[in-house]
């Protein structure tokens, strides 16, 4: 039985919950750009809105967002499931409660397989199985009651699987085993003579008479049998007999314990996979409160150049300001290079962040913060932002920037996307522009999509002058009176960034 709500054909294994204190250990390797993405795109703001202080939801959301999908098919698979979730948030929450309940039961009743001797393993595992069976019945009931209300391929498969695998007959078989595994009337072992005539290959056998009175039937049979009753004071003998019993129970105890583990990991998988959707539900409810729109993006393949949207806003800014923020409408279809120039404090960084966030959200199957959104997937996403002066003083600022760029290049592949924010400005404009120009030209040649926020007129204009068909130039809008609209408009790079406006405002 597989959950398969994150991928149509494989498990999603975001975090390991092996230790009793539920320590969260990232399992999947995230792309090398992770720390930069988190910082530059203010990802934690988004993750907090999804997690609502639940550490597990936070981790799962983080892993899901940072391990982008490049398959349109899987993105659409998740989009459909997420649409179902947004339609039935209460049912999803009820299903999500099942694995939570399992974890709580284990915690509250000290349940678990802590023993190392087979009898102990068996009784611990049997107890867990009993508890799981109860929860699985709840899951089955939810499936019976609500399966029909779900439309996505993922949920239809999931519910069908539950109904088919966990039918009444199956529960009956399981319960019979749970009773037998107590071995109230004794155990039947088979054995052979090993080296030195020592008993070997002890195997627990299922009596040929399949009911509780098997032991009577065996004793009544005519085949020869020899019995020995221990002296009540023979403690050593009793211990040996217990050891022999353990030897026989060893593999069945293992089988029961592993079964318990399997169900446990099924419930864990259910929790992990639903956790992502729980986060999405939380976020959608939060944005709805702010009156912000969400849209399911239209996904184009990596080879295409699509970026057109209306009302795209910076979800992190909205969440931080706790209010509606300005959105942008841009059509950059068939463009590989987007250069953004213009007024300070004019919304350039915000815009760049909204591009990055929307891309990550789209590529993990989420909705995006926009009225409409259409973009191609990218192979990987990198951010290269101007950073604070290196506190360690080990390398100069420009050196540090080039160093970061170099490690990005190590990991770049065609159809990736790089977001530059005032990069290579830590030197004089001439040098910085030339380096930026060379880097960007090379990236474009390698089919990498580039968004570049810059004040460097020389750099921006060198591209503009070439009149490249696949480049587009956006400018932060500034009204003639100096006020900003925080909207971007298409337009030629200008030589001034209106820093004077700022100066005047602050010093004036």
């Amino acid at each position: 039985m597989k959950v398969f709500l994150m991928y149509p054909d494989r498990d999603f294994e975001p975090v390991q919950k092996s230790s009793p204190e539920q320590r969260l250990v990232p399992r999947q390797k995230l792309p090398g750009s992770e720390p930069a993405l988190i910082q530059d795109l203010e990802l934690n703001t988004l993750l907090n809105a999804m997690a609502l202080k639940d550490e597990f939801l936070f981790e799962v959301a983080k892993q899901a967002i940072l391990s982008s999908l490049d398959s349109q098919e899987i993105i659409r698979y998740r989009q459909a499931i997420l649409k179902d979730c947004l339609k039935h948030p209460d049912i999803i929450r009820e299903i999500y409660r099942i694995p939570i309940q399992s974890a709580e039961n284990k915690h509250n009743h000290w349940m678990g397989i802590f023993s190392t001797n087979p009898s102990g393993v068996l009784s611990g595992a049997r107890e867990m199985l009993e508890m799981f069976v109860g929860l699985l019945k709840t899951l089955k009931k939810l499936a019976d009651d609500h399966a029909g209300e779900f439309e996505s391929q993922g949920f239809r498969r999931f519910f069908a699987m539950i109904q088919q695998e966990l039918d009444d007959e199956y529960f009956a078989v399981v319960e019979r085993h749970l009773k037998q595994l107590k071995f109230n009337s004794g155990v039947l072992l088979s054995a052979e003579l090993g080296a030195g005539n020592e008993g070997a290959n002890y195997v627990l056998r299922k009596p040929n008479f399949n009911n509780q009175s098997w032991i009577k039937r065996i004793f009544a049979s005519k085949s020869p049998m020899y019995s020995y009753t221990l002296d009540p004071r023979d403690d050593g003998g009793a211990r040996v007999l217990g050891d022999l019993r353990d030897r026989g129970l060893n593999s069945v105890a293992n089988a029961v314990a592993q079964s318990a583990d399997h169900i446990d990991s099924f419930l864990n998988a259910l929790q992990s996979e639903l956790a992502f959707y729980m986060g999405c539900i939380n976020l959608s409810e939060g944005l709805a409160q702010l009156g912000e729109p969400i849209a399911f993006p239209e996904v184009a393949p990596a080879g295409k150049r699509r970026h057109s949207f209306t009302g795209l806003y910076d979800v992190c800014l909205a969440l931080t300001m706790k209010q509606k923020v300005v959105g942008n409408d841009v059509n950059a279809n068939d463009k590989s290079l987007v250069i953004i120039t213009g007024a300070n404090q004019g919304g350039k960084s915000t815009f760049l962040r909204s591009i990055g966030l929307a891309q990550l959200m789209m590529q993990c199957g989420m909705f995006v913060p926009a009225k409409s959104f259409h973009a191609n997937v990218c192979a990987s996403l990198f951010t290269h932002y101007k950073q604070e002066e290196d506190a360690t003083m080990t390398s100069g600022k420009f050196d540090e920037e080039l160093n970061r760029m170099s490690s990005i290049v190590d990991n770049l592949s065609p159809n990736s996307m790089v977001l530059f924010n005032e990069s290579f400005a830590a030197t004089n404009e001439r040098e910085g522009s030339e380096i930026a120009r060379q880097i960007v030209s090379a990236l474009l040649e390698k089919r990498v999509k580039v968004f570049f926020v810059t004040h460097q007129y020389e750099f921006a204009h060198s591209f503009y002058d070439k009149k490249m068909a696949h480049a587009i130039y956006l400018r932060a809008e500034r009204r003639d009176d100096g006020t900003r609209t925080f909207k971007l408009i298409e337009g030629e790079p200008l030589q001034t960034s209106y820093g004077k406006d700022l100066y005047d405002r602050i010093f004036g």
């Binding site: 001797n117 020592e198 003998g237 040996v240």
Partner: protein, 509 residues
């Protein structure tokens, strides 16, 4: 039945084993070497073999042949497999002797016989397939072949297999209740854990933990298990009667010649294993010519004890040559301290000793002298119990050597008379040297006294050297060269390619 004497001796007079290690062992660090060689094989008691040098060139030749055969990796592997099985045989027999319950004891006795038959038939087959050149192994192969085809071995083999087959096909059931158990024949009941697994298979996610307890079971039997075994014997009386009969018939099944071979062959195996690790460091071993010639030499020799101790380090082992031509007898080693002089002297002694055991020795090529005795004089800690001063003790010990040494001996003198004035030391040393020369004995003499090095035509001078670029750095190279206290100057000359040898080479004739 044919007779096979020994894989260690070609003649039927077998040299007596020596339990005590020779007196010079610690000075030459041979005690460490033999400890390392025999470590891990205490049950063979191999040290006496290594304490017994040969006096016969023919026997040395005999051992060389066997050693060369054993250099074949396949044969070596086969001998090791045989040895491992014989170890198991002994372990099982020892175990059986200590057991309390009749069928338990007989069970282990049967196991021992099974493994023994396997060991011997395997060995016979493996030797048969081997391309042997040595007289020793060829003769032994012949012996084993005859043995495995003998009636007694054949009977042992067939009966062992038959009895074991009867017992291992026994399958029974044990029903365990509280304070009570019952034994009866197994009646085809199904495996319950398989059924449980099948029931829960659908939940299988990924790999899960293995909960099988590691139930350690020593080879013991308690009264409960013994009781179960007794019940099983009652269920299958004929099979256990056959076991009784087998044990009565084959009380002593291990052949004496095989047993002795199993021990003696380890002399070769242990040494080959030991030198293989050293060879991996890029160091060479060779079969020396051994005989009465005093024109001894060894190229790229090294201290085998030092090489062994440096095995797990990055440090290189320095190799050195020596060559003695008539009438040369005495190597006087001088030069900077910590330059490898003592190591060189030890090497000389080790090489001769190992050669006398019929073993390959460190070096690319060697001719070594078959000595009657080795004497060493190394500096000792002052020993309060002998009530002698250090100089007195030195003289006392040297005197004791001279009462026993013959012209066929080998003498290693390391820093004699280091604890007196230079003048005294030179005087005493010259006296000793005169005696050594008179004896015509092979000798290595390590000294700080340059005066000794050009004593006569019988002495050659070798010096430890330094790096030309950095005279403080030792090379551990010992080179034949006059000792004139000019090691440093010579090094510089070397750097400029102006040594005697170099100039000779540079000037075209």
């Amino acid at each position: 039945m044919m007779i096979f004497h020994s894989i260690l001796f070609d003649k039927d007079v077998i040299q007596k084993e020596t339990a005590e290690q020779p007196a010079f062992f610690t000075d030459l660090n041979l005690d460490q070497v033999i400890d390392a060689i025999t470590a891990g094989k205490p049950e063979y008691n191999l040290k006496p073999f290594f304490h017994t040098p040969l006096r016969d060139v023919g026997t040395i030749q005999y051992r060389h042949e066997i050693m060369r055969d054993l250099e074949d990796a396949t044969l070596m592997e086969h001998i090791k497999i045989f040895a491992e099985k014989m170890i198991i045989v002994r372990r099982y027999l020892g175990l059986a002797g200590k057991l309390d319950y009749h069928y338990h004891e007989e069970g282990w006795f049967l196991e021992a016989a099974l493994v023994y038959c396997e060991a011997v038939t395997g060995l016979a087959q493996d030797l048969d397939a081997a391309d042997l050149k040595s007289r020793g192994l060829i003769a032994f192969r012949e012996y084993v072949k005859n043995y495995v085809h003998s009636h007694s071995f054949h009977t042992l083999l067939t009966e062992t297999k038959k009895v074991k087959a009867g017992l291992s096909s026994v399958k029974y059931s044990v029903i365990i209740q509280i304070g009570r158990f019952s034994v009866r024949a197994y009646e085809g009941e199904t495996d319950y854990s398989v059924e449980v697994e099948k029931t829960f298979e659908k939940f299988k996610q990924g790999a899960v933990k293995d909960y099988q307890a590691k139930l350690y079971k020593g080879s013991g039997m308690n009264h409960i298990e013994a009781q179960i075994l007794e019940f099983v014997a009652r269920l299958y009386p004929e099979r256990f009667a056959a076991l009784d009969q087998f044990c009565a018939n084959h009380r002593q099944f291990v052949n004496e010649t095989i047993r002795v071979f199993d021990r003696e062959i380890q002399f070769y195996v242990s040494y080959l294993e030991f030198i293989t690790d050293i060879e991996l460091k890029g160091l060479a071993f060779c079969y020396p010519q051994v005989g009465e010639s005093r024109e001894v030499y060894d190229y790229d020799g090294f201290d085998i004890a030092l090489a062994h101790s440096l095995l797990n380090t990055e440090k290189p082992v320095i190799c050195n040559d020596f060559v003695l031509k008539e009438p040369e007898r005495i190597i006087v080693v001088s030069g900077p301290n910590q330059g490898g002089k003592t190591t060189f002297a030890r090497t000389f002694g080790q090489l001769h000793y190992l050669a006398s055991l019929g073993l390959p020795v460190p070096g690319r090529e060697a001719r070594l002298f078959l000595f009657d005795q080795i004497f060493t004089h190394f500096e000792r800690e002052e020993d309060i119990s002998n009530l002698r001063g250090k100089l007195e003790d030195d003289l006392f010990r040297i005197h004791s050597i001279f009462t026993r040494v013959t012209s066929n001996s080998i003498l290693i003198l390391n820093e004699i008379f280091a604890s007196t004035t230079l003048k005294d030391a030179v005087f005493l040393s010259k006296e000793i040297m005169a005696k050594v020369m008179e004896l015509d004995v092979l000798c290595v003499c390590v000294t700080f006294m340059d005066e000794l090095s050009a004593f006569s035509e019988k002495t050659i001078s070798m010096v430890s050297t330094v790096l030309p670029e950095n005279p403080a750095m030792r090379t551990f190279k010992i080179i034949r060269r006059p000792a004139d206290g000019l090691a440093y100057a010579l090094s510089l000359a070397e750097k400029h390619r102006l040594t005697y040898e170099q100039i000779k080479e540079r000037i075209q004739s």
